[in-house]
């Protein structure tokens, strides 16, 4: 996983609530057995509408998605994270995320930023400005900054637990971390009752 400390880029406003992972990437795109190439399927149905925000040339090359309440609920498909990353997104900002998506994102290296609804609205407005200003997502300082434009000077702090932040900033592989506690796992296994089910 690539370490994440700070990222500056342009934002795309997605003014919808309850965007489920079926919208982020429909099931028909989930058949690939690799982790790459899912950008094609990102918001596949909506991308057919010419007015859809990702189809507007002014957002070409944007790297931060600013979404509404309950972003990425529903299906556990990590493909939703891979599709956003493959498309070029580095961070997603929303007032609340589906739990599984938020977990998946932090495992894959896409930063999910939970931000107060009012700040999200301001960022969406900033992204709609002409020309849209660049936004900085600073994981080190745990804040979002709008550097220029009408909303220039805005600093919005966000919360993220220390452990997840540390893992993201170091780009650490969870499995490696867990395997350092192999002894504890084996010790636990030794205490499991014999009647517990086994599949074999």
């Amino acid at each position: 996983m690539q370490p994440f400390t700070t990222h500056t880029g342009r934002a795309v406003p997605l003014r919808r609530t309850n965007v489920d992972t079926d919208q982020i990437i429909p099931a028909s795109y989930l058949k690939r057995v690799s982790r790459d190439g899912f950008g094609d399927g990102l918001f596949a149905a909506w991308r057919e509408e010419p007015s859809f925000v990702l189809n507007q040339p002014r957002y070409d090359g944007a790297t931060i998605l600013v979404a509404g309440l309950d972003f990425a609920t529903g299906s556990s498909r990590e493909h939703a994270v891979w599709a956003l990353m493959d498309y070029g997104f580095k961070a997603v900002i929303a007032p609340r995320f589906g739990d599984i998506f938020r977990n998946n994102a932090t495992k894959a290296g896409l930063l999910p930023v939970v931000l107060h609804e009012k700040s999200v609205l301001v960022l969406q407005e900033a992204a709609e400005e002409d020309p849209a200003p660049e936004i900085t997502v600073d994981l080190t300082a745990r804040e979002i900054r709008v550097d220029s434009g009408t909303h220039g000077g805005l600093v919005a702090p966000f919360e993220i637990d220390n452990y997840t932040r540390w893992r993201l900033m170091e780009g650490l592989d969870d499995i490696g971390l867990t395997l350092r506690h192999e002894d504890a796992i084996s010790a636990f296994e030794a205490t499991r009752p014999a009647w517990l089910p086994a599949t074999a």
Binding site: R16, T17, N18, D20, D22, Q23, P26, A27, S28, L30, K31, R32, V33, S34, R35, A45, G68, L69, D70, T73, G74, S75, S76, R77, E78, H79, V81, R96, G98, D99, I100, F101, N103, N104, K107, A108, D161, N162, Y163, D174, I175, L177, T178, L179, H181, A184, I185, F188, E189, T191, R192, P193, A194, W195, L196, P197, A198, T199, A200
Partner: protein, 483 residues
């Protein structure tokens, strides 16, 4: 089940199961939880196995892991065990689906994991076969790369969906670093009226709590109406916990649970059964346990529910009309309703009973069990599926199919003009040949009415099996009492 209980004081059921699975806890870090059962299917696992291979890792406990083919498999043309995946006789015609199923077979073999391939007597939807085999038991921790893993909580297990990176983590370590969610009690007092099912109950709960209302919680369903549900009804309720954002849904095990489990292939037997039951009886929230949130629902006030929009929280009693977005006070909810009605092709004020459907789907991990098929068959017996309506009945597993055929349900369906299929996820998600065409409208017993969920441009109304069957007969959303 392991080690002494850490904390004193009253605890919820979720807290008890959690505490008994903590391998390691440290300040400022997530707990490392031991996983008792890992269910695997073809869609969310290939990249996880690739990750293991790339790192030279093995599956730590193949004996606590099981795999099935469900999402991609067609539900026609499967004649029995040994049906070919490749070559002329293969029912899987989509080459990409075939590759995915092939990858699972290869991975299961390489990593020594028991797999139930399509056509096998043990094959079925991952959340149907776990309970059916008795692998799902009270007090276990269960994960699967699938959000509806919450289903297994109906038997008193702590079960939740995970993503592919976590699937790889569990394969490699049989553990998962997890932050303990908050707890919520949903108490359903009273008794469900005649004609109101577990599906109606959970749709009503989601409408009440809101699609994000369970975010960050493990929910425990309690109260007289929950106790009165059959095991299969409880599985339906817990299945949809994720539809209001809950991490997991739980029901404390009781005689209904033990009765259901007894004699199943993986359930303990003899003296071990007694030891297990004695332990299972301790799995209830302490009387004075404190939940972080509490919700109460009055069962007696419920009626058959249907969804009108594009998320499961957009549901109303069947007797209601399509809501008017302009009359919704919350701006976000009003905008969402407007989008939903445009997508669904519905006009505000239309009575739900006037909504015509093209397709009826009975199946999925929500309502693809024997009692669901019985409920649908009971309505269809002696009746006909309306002209121009296509009805698919898809058992959740090959075992459900066998049992249904044993009691002749398949004949009731085919005589009525419905299609009787083999087991799989089928039209629950548009990943195999069973799909809606653009603009087509369905009444479906599945769990998601998201845009495009059943096929691009398809429109879904979530309903119970009985409402699905009645709708098939009239061609419009209907309850059995309307016939």
């Amino acid at each position: 089940m392991n080690g002494p209980a850490e904390s004193s004081g009253p605890r919820t059921l979720a807290e008890k199961i959690w505490a008994s699975h903590v391998v390691r806890s440290a300040d400022g870090e997530p707990d490392l939880l031991y996983i008792d059962l890992h269910l695997v299917h073809e869609v969310t696992s290939p990249q996880a196995f690739d990750g293991l291979r790339a790192a030279g890792r093995k599956v730590r406990r193949p004996d606590l892991t099981i795999a099935t083919e469900d999402h991609n498999v067609p539900t026609t043309g499967i004649t029995g065990p040994g049906v070919p995946l490749i070559g002329p006789g293969s029912p899987v015609t989509d080459p990409v689906s075939r590759t995915q199923v092939q990858a699972l077979r290869k991975n299961a073999e390489e990593f020594d994991i028991r797999l139930y391939p399509m056509g096998d007597a043990g094959q079925g939807i991952v959340h149907v076969i776990g309970p059916q085999m008795g692998l799902t038991q009270p007090g276990l921790t269960i994960v699967c790369g699938d959000s509806h893993t919450s289903t297994h909580g109906a038997m008193g297990a702590l079960a939740f969906g995970i993503g592919t990176s976590e699937v790889e983590h569990v394969l490699a370590t049989q553990t998962l670093p997890s932050v303990k969610p908050k707890t919520m009690a949903i108490t359903v007092d009273g008794a469900l009226p005649e004609g109101v099912s577990a599906k109606d109950l959970i749709l009503a709960i989601i409408a009440q709590v809101g699609t994000g209302g369970g975010q960050g919680f493990i929910v425990e369903y309690r109260g007289a109406a929950i106790r009165a549900l059959s095991m299969e009804g409880r599985l339906t309720v817990c299945n949809m916990s994720i539809e209001f954002g809950a991490r997991a849904g739980l029901i404390a095990p009781d005689e209904v649970t033990f009765e259901y489990l007894k004699g199943r292939p993986h359930a303990p037997s003899g003296a071990e059964w007694d030891a297990a039951v004695a332990y299972w009886r301790t799995l209830a929230s302490d009387e004075d346990a404190v939940f972080d949130a509490e919700v109460t629902v009055d069962a007696a006030a419920l009626a058959p529910y249907v969804t009108w929009g594009t998320n499961p929280g957009q549901a109303l009693p069947l007797s209601a009309a399509v809501p008017d977005p302009a009359a919704i006070a919350d701006a976000d909810a009003a905008l969402a309703a407007e989008h939903a009605l445009a997508y669904m092709g519905l006009a505000a004020g239309t009575p739900l009973r006037d909504v015509k459907v093209d397709t009826v789907f009975v199946g999925s991990c929500t309502n693809g069990r024997l009692s669901d098929l019985r409920a649908a068959a009971e309505v269809l017996r002696g009746r006909q599926v309306a002209d121009g309506v296509r009805m698919l009945v898809v058992p959740g597993s090959m075992e459900v199919r066998r049992l249904a055929e044993e009691e002749g349900l398949h004949e009731v369906f085919t005589t009525a003009g419905a299609e009787w299929r083999s087991a799989g996820c089928s039209m629950c998600l548009a990943m195999n040949p069973d799909k809606l065409a653009p603009g087509e409208r369905s009444a479906s017993t599945s769990n998601r009415n998201f845009e495009g969920r059943q096929g691009k441009g398809g429109r879904t109304h979530l309903v119970s099996p009985a409402v699905a069957a009645a709708t098939a007969v009239t061609g419009r959303l209907a309850a059995p009492a309307d016939l």
